[in-house]
């Protein structure tokens, strides 16, 4: 070796592999306005589609007259349910086993429901034409309150289901009932409650909200009638699934459908499902023979393309006097809106809500979920969380605080007492999951020490005394949250979407010169896959990340995958990438052995190539090996250097974390100021700490929004209250708190690189931290539970109701 030979450390650094804060590849185009999002796509002859929507939440549609609209120059077509019936698409199947109207078929079930689809030469004409379509409605009684859904005289929302006593998930007990889902041991749990020293019971609501990515849902559909091929560009978090669904619905063979998800302006679960806009744009392109673009506006996005949460969770805990929990009983009333379009793996009507035992060792638990119809938008997407996991985390974390209050124990101490212990992993939960790994006590202790938890409690006590003496009008809350997530859906034994197992995939091709193109079945919407996937490959095969191009979203070129949501990319595709890379490394080892004229067992891997054991100067770099793979492979070996891997995970992964929120509240104005927010995350092996921190910041900001005011509310007529950014709370830089992040590392034992996924943890753990802070602040005034969202008005009202205003 001479002086010019890079050191091992230099070679390692040159790779920019796992664990380094690699700058993002995507940013070069995004910072210059050169990203390509759906609305940037312009095809020759392209026209525009837009919807006529219902002003009523529940009404019969007695007449649709498009005569005047069609007279307007530039209007090409107006599609109604009658037209869609010709192609058997007036209704579409949902991911949850229900059916959903694409366009109003005789009635509407929620405000802004799609009634007719206008196709015109430009957006402005389409908008004009919408005003000219005459629709006659006959109003019906509106059902808004889910607790009234199953009243004997509740209006019939779904006459199409009349007489249907069996739904996709078992018996229906009322005309507005969708499903009942029960898990756990009812008798054991009942016994735990009858033997308990202490019990608590609270109805904990998690209000309806919306993921509202900054880019709304949109697509461009283009049917080539000559070739019989359909191309759809769209905001799809799961492009391959969209292709399969499009093929099943349209009967166009799957290989003649090209689904392309270009750059996506945020998803957060909103872009998982199939919406009427996609179907109508596709049908309109088939009918007109020209490309059709559909772009929803913000009001349409917030009021129609899905929603999140709307879970009403009656929660009971049984415990001993010393704080040991002995039983958990939860009943959820789930408001699914007009159609059950919940985006969960098909066999899971309430997602993975049975993670509701959280981080605690409950010996017995029982859970029941009843889904009901109301006159609200359909959906139930996982807004930056794995399926219904954030609802579950909120439920248990709020309930643990309520139990601590009843026991007069510190909420952090109560959690510590009941944590699943490190030696219990893999841990079998009472509701059926096997937690892969965890070290909850270490994480909690680190978090408590870092924020100075005991000192904060002392300060809070002093402030409460000062408040009682009338010296201050400010009170202080400390929100404790310790969450366990379940992500990485999922093992084929229990996870599928419409029958397709929830594996994911990666394909890696090493070119002769040693550069790489790699494609995955996932689809980034801001997570930075182009950057991080290359880091995994770089570490595994010793080729610098800078020489690796990652491509996702084109179903023609990428291997089939189930897409990006539920923090599944790293646990599932991340594993596929590592395993595909290892196949390449194995072949490279054989080639290197041939080149060095030794047995492959005499070689060892060293950063970016193979060397002969005990003789590091006899080595071949991956670059040299790549050339040899195409130039002079060993006899009887296929030339080339590429691999594909499809990964069916053996288990989910279980990231966890300890979050603390310190809040000061002015009881006279209801204004809450987040003084500190500390988030410790354990997501197993960390691929890119910079990106992890960014994900945590973003998820916490969404959690802050949800807990402190973001809501899709309805009035008693079923009118959506505030479906615009005027009213729907999206925090600006001014309100958003400062975030402190921290970590521990407990790798997943079953994942090839030990990674667990992180993108959704901050939303899952953040919401209870904020809500617990508000509730904790008012506890000394006699509060047990204040429902979210905690906007200033509701906090002021809570203060008033608790007598804080004198």
């Amino acid at each position: 070796m001479n002086d010019m030979t890079p050191t091992r450390e230099q070679r390692e650094a040159n790779l920019e592999g796992m664990g380094c804060k690699r700058k993002r590849v995507e940013d070069v185009r995004f910072t210059q306005g050169k990203g390509q999002y759906v609305d940037d796509i312009k095809l020759p002859g392209m026209v525009y589609g837009d919807f006529v929507r219902s002003p009523y939440a529940h009404a019969k549609v007695t007449k649709i007259d498009a005569t005047e609209a069609l007279k307007l120059p530039g209007v090409i077509a107006v599609l109604t349910a009658e037209d869609l019936k010709g192609v058997n698409l007036a209704w579409m199947p949902t991911l949850a086993g229900d059916v959903q109207m694409v366009l109003a078929d005789g009635k509407v079930l929620y405000q802004n429901q799609e009634v007719a689809f206008v196709v015109a030469e430009d957006r402005y004409i389409a908008d004009d034409a919408i005003q000219l379509v005459e629709v006659e409605y006959e109003e019906l009684p509106v059902l808004v309150d889910p607790f009234q859904s199953m009243a004997p005289d509740a209006p019939v929302l779904r006459p199409d289901l009349e007489g249907k006593t069996e739904g996709a998930h078992g018996p229906r007990k009322h005309h507005n009932h969708i499903f009942n889902w029960a898990v756990g041991d009812k008798d054991e749990t009942a016994k735990a409650f009858s033997d308990a020293d202490v019990t608590i019971k609270e109805m904990i609501s998690y209000h309806r909200t919306h993921p509202s990515p900054l880019e709304t849902c949109q697509c461009v559909a283009s049917m080539d009638k000559v070739k019989g091929e359909l191309t759809v560009y769209g905001t799809f978090q799961a492009p391959h699934v969209i292709r399969t669904v499009a093929s099943l619905l349209s009967t166009i063979p799957e290989h003649k459908i090209h689904v392309i998800a270009p750059d996506i302006g945020g998803g957060f679960g909103n872009k998982v499902g199939a919406y009427p806009g996609y179907i109508c744009a596709i049908v309109a392109s088939i009918v007109t023979g020209v490309p059709v673009k559909w772009v929803e506006d913000r009001m349409e996005n917030l009021s129609t393309t899905s929603f999140a949460r709307d879970y009403h969770m009656t929660t009971e805990i049984a415990a001993k006097n010393d704080g040991t929990v002995t039983g958990l009983k939860v009943h959820v009333l789930a408001d699914h809106g007009g159609f059950d379009a919940c985006a969960d793996p098909s066999k899971w009507p309430a997602g993975f809500f049975n993670i509701v035992t959280g981080s605690y060792d409950f010996p017995a638990a029982h859970l029941e979920v009843d889904g009901v119809y109301t006159n609200k938008a359909p959906g139930g997407v996982a807004y930056r969380c794995s399926f219904r996991v954030t609802e579950a985390a909120y439920c248990i974390e709020r309930a643990m605080d309520i139990l601590a209050q009843k026991l007069e124990m510190d909420p952090a101490d109560l959690r510590m007492k009941n944590f699943v212990k490190p030696e219990q992993f893999p841990y079998q939960s009472a509701l059926g999951w096997e937690y892969d790994s965890g070290d909850y006590h270490t994480a909690m202790q680190k978090a408590m020490d870092t924020i100075g938890y005991r000192e904060l409690r002392a300060e809070q006590k002093a402030k409460q005394e000062a408040f009682k003496r009338g010296e201050t009008r400010e009170i202080m809350g400390i929100g404790v949250s310790f969450f366990t997530e379940i992500v990485g859906a999922g093992p084929s034994k229990n996870c599928d979407i419409l029958g397709v197992a929830m594996f994911d995939s990666a394909e890696i091709r090493v070119h002769p010169t040693g550069s790489v193109i790699s494609r995955m079945g996932t689809k980034s919407q801001g997570q930075g896959h182009e950057t991080t996937w290359a880091q995994i490959i770089a570490t595994e095969i010793g080729i610098p990340a800078a020489d690796i191009m990652v491509e996702e979203g084109n179903t023609d070129t990428a291997p089939y995958g189930l897409g990006t949501y539920g923090s599944r990319s790293t646990p599932v595709a991340g594993a596929a990438i590592a395993l595909a890379a290892r196949k390449i490394r194995n072949k490279a080892q054989m080639i290197a052995a041939h080149m060095l004229e030794v047995s492959e067992y005499d070689l060892e891997w060293d950063v970016d190539g193979f060397q002969v054991k005990g003789n590091p100067e006899a080595r071949k770099s991956m670059k040299e090996i790549a050339w040899a793979a195409y130039h002079a492979p060993p006899p009887n070996m296929e030339p080339g250097l590429e691999a594909v891997s499809y990964y069916d995970p053996p288990n989910m992964t279980y990231p966890f974390g300890a979050y603390f929120c310190v809040m000061d509240i002015d009881v006279d104005t209801g204004v809450a100021n987040t003084r500190r927010f500390y988030a410790l995350d354990d997501c197993g092996t960390r691929i890119n700490p910079m990106i992890i921190e960014g994900q945590v910041h973003g998820g916490l900001t969404e959690a802050f929004a949800i807990a402190m005011g973001q809501e899709i509310a309805y009035d008693e007529m079923g009118n959506v209250m505030g479906a615009s950014f005027m009213d729907f709370f999206i925090p600006t830089a001014v309100e958003t708190p400062h975030w402190e992040t921290d970590y521990t590392v407990t790798p997943s034992p079953h994942h090839p690189i030990g990674a667990k996924g992180v993108g959704e943890s901050p939303n899952v753990g953040g919401v209870p931290a904020f809500s617990n802070a508000v509730n904790d602040a008012f506890q000394f005034l006699g509060n047990t539970h204040i429902q979210m969202p905690h906007d200033a008005w509701r906090i002021w009202k809570a203060a008033k109701d608790l007598g804080a205003h004198g």
């Binding site: 700058k23 993002r24 995507e26 940013d27 070069v28 185009r29 995004f30 910072t31 210059q32 306005g33 050169k34 990203g35 390509q36 999002y37 609305d39 940037d40 312009k42 307007l72 120059p73 530039g74 030469e121 430009d122 957006r123 402005y124 004409i125 004009d128 509202s212 990515p213 900054l214 880019e215 709304t216 750059d263 996506i264 302006g265 945020g266 957060f268 772009v295 506006d297 913000r298 919407q525 801001g526 910079m690 990106i691 921190e693 960014g694 994900q695 910041h697 973003g698 900001t701 969404e702 615009s724 950014f725 005027m726 999206i730 600006t732 830089a733 001014v734 958003t736 400062h738 975030w739």
Partner: protein
């Protein structure tokens, strides 16, 4: 094509003079994106809340989704496409956003950088609070703003010739 009469509009966009006929109701954002193919500015809300459509008009930040193209007649306009240095390298702000991880999905980024560009002209040495207030008209759903603030501090330091790392801490 509708029968609405078209009117002439002339403006200078990123240093280049452009002239088109548009309907009086044509929004500036559609003019930029569809007539001029400048697809950097985005549409996020159509109600001037999100700022994804922010461009600089006559030295001021404006939201191009709620201005008519006709209102920009005769204006000097800068969009994200006009931000890079003359030699094609990233500007201090563009570099700052990348260095400080000030973006994720990239959808708000053009508007955010364009706003920050004008902000730094108005106030070359902003405090953190001034930055947060200065970008309050631009929403981001991904980053939680903390790294956007750092990105703008990075750019301010670079443009002022002060220590970038210190500014970013």
């Amino acid at each position: 094509m509708s029968d609405i009469e078209q009117i002439p509009v002339t403006m200078t966009v990123n240093g280049k003079k452009v002239q088109r006929f548009v309907e009086p109701r044509t929004l500036l954002i559609h003019f930029l994106r569809e007539e001029l193919n400048l697809t950097g500015p985005h549409i996020g809300c159509e109600t001037s809340h999100c700022g994804a459509c922010t461009v600089e008009m006559n030295g001021m930040s404006v939201k191009s989704c709620t201005l008519f193209a006709a209102q920009a007649n005769g204006a000097e306009m800068t969009t994200i496409e006009g931000m890079a240095n003359a030699d094609g390298t990233l500007s201090a702000l563009q570099e700052g956003f990348r260095e400080m991880h000030g973006l994720q999905c990239g959808y708000c980024t053009p508007g955010m950088i364009t706003r920050a560009h004008t902000l730094l002209k108005e106030n070359p040495n902003p405090t953190e609070d001034e930055i947060r207030m200065g970008i309050a008209g631009n929403l981001c759903r991904c980053t939680g703003y903390q790294n956007i603030v750092k990105a703008i501090q990075y750019a301010a330091a670079k443009l002022n010739g002060t220590d970038i790392q210190e500014a970013a801490e």
